[in-house]
């Protein structure tokens, strides 16, 4: 099969904060509809990598391509257009507390220029997808952590992004609530409509839902491959740690 242009290509990205190296030449690709899990110990640069992709953070060296276009040289307008195509789900949900569930989902659509009624349709569809259509008029404060994260997912989904970046979406959740979020993530992965770059410690999710697993340590890619390879025959110490989690 002919090698298609990857949806996302990260090419040798370096980023340091003062003396501290966050990324030391990370390269990776995500194909359209592909789900890639990024794993690695805390502080290894996972969040920084995701933020760089949508230019929430600027990097020092290397380049990132979205749909073949370099992200680095983009101006404000192009960056905003880029962000509308890339959904971002944060560890701490980051909902606008003042706005209702529906308005949170509507925000990006309406301010992106969409007609209000069409936007509402889409927003409600996205909320249905995360099974929260009945909670649309509540405020975030009235929701559980899992529900909030599902609103955040709906907010990203409603934009119909081509790529979704997930930054430990279940890490802040009560263990009993993790499942409802993971279920939705798996559904999305299985749909294969959206490329997904998922930073997670959920080994099971990575094993079942990811096409590929990338292990990051100290700003470098340690290991990369299909989950069976990475978890079945890990070459790195970090990889073996995850495998133990899976087996144990």
């Amino acid at each position: 099969m002919a090698k298609k242009t990857p949806l996302l290509k990260v090419d040798g990205i370096h980023k340091r904060y003062g003396d501290r190296v966050a990324l030391a030449g990370v390269s990776l690709t995500v194909a359209p509809g592909e789900t890639v899990a990024v794993m690695g110990p805390s502080g290894c640069g996972k969040s920084t990598l995701l933020r760089c992709i949508v230019r929430l953070t600027d990097w020092d060296k290397g380049e990132i391509y979205f749909d073949g276009r370099p992200v680095g040289p983009m101006d404000h307008g192009a960056i905003r257009a880029l962000r509308r195509q890339i959904g971002f789900v944060f560890q701490h949900f980051q909902l606008i507390e003042r706005l209702s569930v529906l308005d949170n989902v509507l925000l990006g659509l309406v301010l992106g220029g969409m007609d209000r009624r069409a936007a509402e349709k889409r927003a409600l569809a996205a909320l249905r997808r995360v099974r929260l259509e009945h909670e649309h008029s509540l405020r975030p404060a009235e929701l559980s952590g899992g529900q909030r994260q599902r609103v955040a997912i709906a907010r990203a989904l409603a934009m119909e992004p081509r790529l979704m970046l997930w930054d430990e979406p279940t890490a802040a959740l009560d263990p009993v609530l993790v499942g409802e979020v993971l279920d939705i993530m798996e559904e999305l992965a299985n749909d294969r409509k959206t490329g997904m770059l998922v930073v997670t410690h959920e080994v099971r999710f990575a094993r079942h839902a990811a096409d590929r697993v990338i292990i990051l340590d100290r700003g470098r890619v340690l290991e990369e491959g299909p989950p069976e390879q990475v978890f079945g025959n890990p070459r790195s110490y970090v990889g073996r740690q995850y495998r133990r989690l899976l087996v144990g």
Binding site: V54, L56, H76, R80, A81, L82, R83, R84, G87, F88, F90, H92, Q94, L95, I96, E97, R98, L99, D103, L106, L107, G108, V110, L111, G112, R155, M159
Partner: protein, 718 residues
Amino acid sequence: MSLLQDGFWKDYLLAVAATILVGALVASSAAHGLDAALDRAADGILGEAGQYDLIVHIRQDYREAAARELPLVLSGHYEGVRVERAITVAGNANFLIDVPAEHYRADVLESLPSLLGQIPGFNGYTWLLEPSLTVTGLRPGVRDRLAGEAAAVPGVRLAVRHGSSVTVVLEEVQDQSRVADALNRLLSGRQLVELGFPPGEGPVDGTEVAASVKDAVGARFAADVTPDGGEDGAPAGLDGLRRFLESFGSRVRIAPVPGSEPPLVGQRLVLQGGSPERPVPGKPPAADHVIVEITHRDGDVAVGRIEQGDRSEIPDTAAATAADGSSDGRREAMPAYRLDQGFVGPLAGTAAVEEPGWNPGDPESGALLWHRVGELARAAAEAAGQVDRWLVLVGPADGTGAVAGETGEATRELAQRLVKSLRSGDGAGAVRETLLTVIMAALAQNAKPDGDGAGSGAPGIPEALSPDRLAALRDSLNRLAEAAGQLQGDEWQDALRSMPEIGALLPELRDDELTRILQALEEWTGAAGGHGPRIELWIDASVPAEEIRRAAEEATGRAVTVRPSASGVVSPSPRSLVTGVLDDVRRSVAALLAFLVAALSLILDHAIVLAAMRYLSVPDTAIRPAGAAIGALLLGAVYGLSGARLPFAGHWAVLAAGALLGLLTAALAERLGPVNAEEIVAGQSLGLSDGQIMREIVVPAGRPGMMVLVNRRRRRFR
């Protein structure tokens, strides 16, 4: 900067503009509200602007009598004149006088003060003519001419002369600055030039001199404004004062040692005085010796005045044989030594001290002098009313606010100041001040415990000038003025005798103090001796004095001395002064409110914007300068628009203060206006612009302020 997108920045500017307008409105209207309240308070004291025309001051104990007499006297002359009682201040009951429209003429108004003289307890008056301007410091001739010219200025209703001033009553308050400008132009365009001619060459025709000088120098305007005292001229008033004061001084008559010439004019003699030590030839005189300056000759006898010491320091050795044989009015005779270059010299003769007191010289000049006394007393009465202000002016340099220490020292200092003010040219003011100096010294003297000479136990002058004393002083001066105005021929001598309190007031001055004042006056008027004719010219200010002198010399063929001075000073009416103070208060209040508005706006509106900037695509280094700029803009504009003014702060200081406030806000932005960084990042991740983030996420979560209000219109999510 992407803040400019989506019109948020426009709204931001709108909010700033609205803050400025509303803030300025609030600041100025609150200040005006206060102003109005204060104004009402002022009206309670002065009556409404234009309601009354004159305040008459009456000694408190005569209040009831005056309340009966005033309406009778005034309406007897001018029907319809209304009299209202006002508050009593500092021992003075005040009555407000309203002159009806049909009598509202300059001649009527000018005649009122003379009617007031008959009112029991009359203690002066203050014009309340409104709206008005007062031109002060005018020589009599200039005053009369100016009154005529001012009355012709458009917008001027009438011009009233009083003392050395002209009060110009306006048609409308709005005309005030225009008329003030016109009067100022008129006054500053002309100078008063005093021409002095040598004595003994006959009179000079002022009108002729003025005409020839005008032609010779090509002046647009030149007029003879020599006052009616005639050629006695400008310093004549001062000279009259000098003679008047001189009459209080002790005269020391020196009979020469038989066979020798009497001492010359200007020679100083040393007397033992109250000192236990006789003057010893070859030694310097002691501080308690009496020093006499010879001022003139009277036949064989030299007459002098006491320059150091006082007649009271000469022990009363009973009527020792006086040189001219009479003991009437003379107390004693004692040896007088010459004073040569600071040392006691040979015996010059025997000295006899003439009893001081009212002794105004020869009868024919007495009447004229008496007339002057009236004028001076009137001026002094006016001046006494201003003692407080004057005391502040002459207050000691050490800033303690009290003239402490030796009275003699204080008097000397006063005399020095007097000479200065005389030289600076305000003749009329100087006369007033001179008399005031005398009065004050006298009062200080009066307040002294008995027998204590110029001792350090003397009370300060301010103590001596209690309101009661001032009131009493003013009262007697006014009565003196009144009496002088009514007397004719040589009735003055009788009147004099009937006014012992005046005599009792002034002779308390030490002789040496009096002499110093006289010397100061002489320094101004030229010499102790007589002087030639003097005329006053009012002429274009642009003509140099030297040219005038040359032209006058050519015209008269005599040597001429010239002394130019300013024409006069325009000042606002008393109410304008009060209004001016109120205006200052209003402006200071407006300034404080402007600060408040700026600080509030910075905290409520701008702190959050500045805090959010950190997360937006604004360079971090731009945040503090932005804060400083917005602070300076807010404070500067509200301050400027509200009409605020602080006496100690110029425009730059206000802008700097605003910038400082803004800088402070920027530095404390995150604490003053907490923003939720996670929400901002979420907005960014959705592709929102900075403006959209500000409008929909940051500002709505902020404190309720102008920004929230303005932003609400265009916000999409509520």
